[in-house]
Amino acid sequence: MELLPQALTDGILLGGIYITIAIAFSLTYGVMHVIDFAVGEWIMFGAFTGFYLNKWTGLDPFIFLPVIFVLYFGIGYLIQPVIHRVLSGTKGNPFLMGLVFTFGLAIMFRGLALTVFGFYSNSIPSMFSEGSFNIDQFGITVTIPAVRLVGLCYALAITGFLHYLLKKTNFGLGVRALAQHKDAAGLMGVNSKRTGSFVYGIYVGISAMTGVLMGCILSIGAQMGNEYTIFAFFVVVLAGMGYLAGVPWAALLLGLVQSIFMIYFNPSHTLLAVFAILYVILLISPRGLFGKGV
């Protein structure tokens, strides 16, 4: 039992970071109505970019977060019009084609990463990697690694930023209108192309930044993408597809499942547990834990 507080703390800290990935991912789905199978690959690319920037400059990876965001925002912004074109195609079934397209992107990215980065696993060193805080009160002992605390701060900042963007700006209003009804929003003067590009850019940027964080906290490898894609799916399905308010809870649950399996069970069974939960939720409440998905 004495490990439980530690498991809970780890879970919450990890889950906090998943929130950032899942919100951006869910937002993209809401606006573009397509699932991006390459989500894990964006995280992986971000992680490697951070890794190499750190290696070449010797500077702390956290310093590069803004650079990585801008870089990947740009990449996402440029790629989105292609996806948009596929989705607004008139031949075949555009929705199906959109899914296939992102699936193809994911395969291509994975191949690219394996070719360039190889099969090795690594981690990104940071000045926060070593330090940690110990809390020892009321007979409860909890260790909080500094890097995870920084991760949580990052997650709060990103979530706050997205919240502000969506609820307080005109841009956010356009995004929400698009998520409500794509064509009607278009008629009301929301530029779906440009808004879509922005949202996709923001999502790719945030995913890449989060990749750096995960690289500092856990590890990086060319094949890490799959796992994060599963995590992103898990969170958005549990939250209810396109329902942003459900994301934090689902993300925290994922963090907890992961940390509990790491401490109490066989960590390699984590994914199996994730699948089992996913299946049960789909079976009993397909629109997510809150029944608000689309």
């Binding site: 008139t90 397209f101 699948f275």
Partner: protein
């Protein structure tokens, strides 16, 4: 309803005859091996298209059903000491049952859920095989070798040939195929015509999984070694997607053509450029993306355009605005 011209059956007949005689002429085991695998991929691709092209639901975890078939047969033969012929149907059955279990929660929902769920399922099955005892874990399983290339060539040919004929009858001649297409085109509208979409999708999914499992079983006995990273890896699913998208969804000939071309490419690529195997993955991914953008109807659909398919004239934006909410 003429969908093939009169030369079609003749060409097909010659092709089948050639395939039947081939092993009597060609004794090179490598060639036979390549052909056997090529035929297998045709089977996997057309089975994939039942749910993807005809029904409009993307199964990104097709490889899982192949792997389930392979593992079922390996386990039954090596641990229950069942003969191959007794184990083979069980391979298909196991794949069908898993399709049923996976389909129940996901086929009621939008296609996006199905795509996610099947992909996740394939990862889950791989994890399961890695983590339990009776599959041999990461080391995989070895089967008793039965070294008879001709036997496997004919077995594969007959299985895929039968699969093709059955699917062709069900999808192109019987009402079933048209019903599936109705679901693909408009699920809500199909309900008003007396079609039960969930039931039909389930039937299609199982119909797609059954032959896939059987082919997996034959593959296991033929190759005599299976393990989670190859038999249950992403590559089987990924290749199936490429073959069908590149070849042409919603037909049987398209995926068959795609399977042939992609498999030929793969064979040549791995034979001459084995140092660049990873490049193959990039090419696969790029091929999907390029096909989607430039030939959304696939190679078959582009080469043999159906006569009655003028582009949609109505402005889609406006009709969609007034669309009523779809149930709840």
């Amino acid at each position: 309803m003429k969908t093939t011209n009169s030369r079609g059956p003749a060409i097909l007949g010659i092709l089948v005859a050639a395939l039947l005689i081939l092993p009597l002429v060609v004794h090179d085991t490598f060639v036979l091996r390549v052909l056997t695998e090529g035929i297998m991929w045709i089977g996997l691709a057309i089975a994939f298209d039942v749910i993807a092209g005809y029904t409009g639901y993307l199964n990104f975890g097709h490889g899982a059903f192949f792997g389930i078939g392979a593992y079922t047969i390996a386990i039954l033969m090596m641990q229950a000491n069942l003969p191959f012929w007794a184990a083979l149907p069980a391979g298909g059955l196991a794949a069908g049952v898993v399709a049923l279990i996976a389909g129940i929660p996901t086929l009621r929902l939008k296609g996006a859920y199905f795509a996610i769920a099947t992909w996740a399922l394939s990862r889950a099955i791989q994890q399961l095989a890695l983590n339990v005892e009776f599959t041999g874990g990461p080391d995989g399983m070895r089967l008793n070798a039965f070294l008879n290339p001709q036997f496997f060539y004919y077995l594969m040919l007959i299985t895929v040939g039968l699969t093709f004929l059955i699917l062709w009858y069900l999808l192109e001649r019987a009402p079933f195929g048209l019903k599936l297409k109705a679901i693909r085109e408009d699920e809500e509208g199909a309900k008003a015509l007396g079609l039960n979409p969930t039931k039909l999708k389930m039937q299609a999914f199982i119909l797609s999984a059954l032959p896939t499992g059987i082919l997996g079983g034959i593959y296991a006995y033929w190759i005599t070694f299976i393990d989670p990273s190859s038999t249950l890896g992403d590559l089987v699913s990924d290749q199936a997607v490429v073959m069908v998208v590149f070849g042409g969804m919603g037909t049987l000939f398209g995926p068959a053509l795609g399977a042939l071309l992609i498999f030929a490419f793969k064979t040549i690529f791995w034979a001459y450029l084995s140092d660049f195997q990873l490049l193959y993955l990039i090419i696969l991914g790029a091929l999907i993306a390029v096909s989607v953008i430039f030939i959304p109807n696939g190679l078959w659909g582009t080469l043999f355009k159906r006569k009655a398919a003028p582009p949609r004239r109505e402005e889609p934006a406006l009709t969609a605005v007034v669309a009523p909410e779809e149930g709840n």
